[in-house]
Symmetry: C2
Subunit: 218 residues, 2 copies
Amino acid sequence: MASPQQPKIAKRPSIRRLPQYLSLLRQMRSVGRPNVSSAHLACDMGLEAIVVRKDLGITGIEGRPRIGYEVDALIKAIEEFLGWNDTSSAFLVGAGHLGSALLGYGGFADHGLDIVAAFDTDPGRVGTMVHGKAVFGMDRLAELRARMQVHLGILCVPASAAQAVAELMVDAGIRGIWNFTPVKLKTPDDVVTHQEDLASGLAVLSVALSQLFATQQD
Amino acid sequence: MASPQQPKIAKRPSIRRLPQYLSLLRQMRSVGRPNVSSAHLACDMGLEAIVVRKDLGITGIEGRPRIGYEVDALIKAIEEFLGWNDTSSAFLVGAGHLGSALLGYGGFADHGLDIVAAFDTDPGRVGTMVHGKAVFGMDRLAELRARMQVHLGILCVPASAAQAVAELMVDAGIRGIWNFTPVKLKTPDDVVTHQEDLASGLAVLSVALSQLFATQQD
DNA sequence: TAGATTGTTAATCGATTAACAATC
DNA sequence: TAGATTGTTAATCGATTAACAATC
């Protein structure tokens, strides 16, 4: 009962892997490699080839038997699928340790992201520059967001302030929040959030490490 | 055919959620709350109560009907399960933007982690202090690791150096690598790694955001 | 053509959700 | 006791893996 030409639905795990394909493909392009097989990509990423083919399928790109995928076309298709082909602006809220680091991290340009300004409640930080980005008071958020047409906000405040600040961002018109706090945000349906939880990654590693030691009777 | 008292196997998604329970429970403890139900935790985390009960089950703690879980006991059990009850030392390799930020981030203490030293290849950084942590040359890695009994390494070098530096860490005796590079590391079986991939999180958010705009005919 | 590689359709696997008995 | 909440067992759901036909 499937429609004859149904658009492939992008599963979350596949989306998560796309940036890694992109990184590999850009490397290949930089050394002038024209084509690549799913088996080759799979080897580089520690996956099975069938996973790669399924993942790449969601971008709409088709490979050619005996040849594989065209590196250039694949890069373009992934960038377009992710919306990373043209740069979008973001605000960063909370210019503490982690926030400052993200302001200084140059790699976001590869992901179509440009952090154009930072915001903070600390009067000692407001008015300063951090890695070349101006830090504004929270009272300027709505005004500057509208003027600069920014839709994405990066949340780097302490856990205790997370929900309240997120609400300020939503009120100011921010539609997507990249949440670096350990707090699960409650936001309206027309706002999307993604929690980047460092602690959860450390938990997985901690358990794996203790299992490793346990199996070795250490 | 299950053994009568089989130890619950900890699934990855459950492990990932444990730090968030821990964070909430510590908050509850700080305001003197003695018990909490799975329904209450579920509400705070945006989950179903049954998920919470399954997750907490892996720590070995049992709740009591009509009362719920004891906050104190649950905190202890999660900390113990994750090995966060006593602090373990870690080295950080690559003291650039992100590396420096992690060195300055105080929150790892809550997760039983103490970054005791940093390493870098840049002669301009070696010998300096970053956020109170000494930066050593890579040649000191093996010696200091053995002396300080460090098992965990945090990898924050550029993608191009990631695999090579990871191999140096393994050779030096590091058994767990928290990988902040976009490179899938190839390591021996007796080394565990966890990739903390910011780009994958951004990808999920980017796609969700563009779907949001698409459904609104923006 | 023969052979390699893709993409599709089906089967397996694992995680989540639901139903319900146990218990305080 | 009655009622609320837990933990277990079964059912559903979704993702991964396998088998294989299509194609250059």
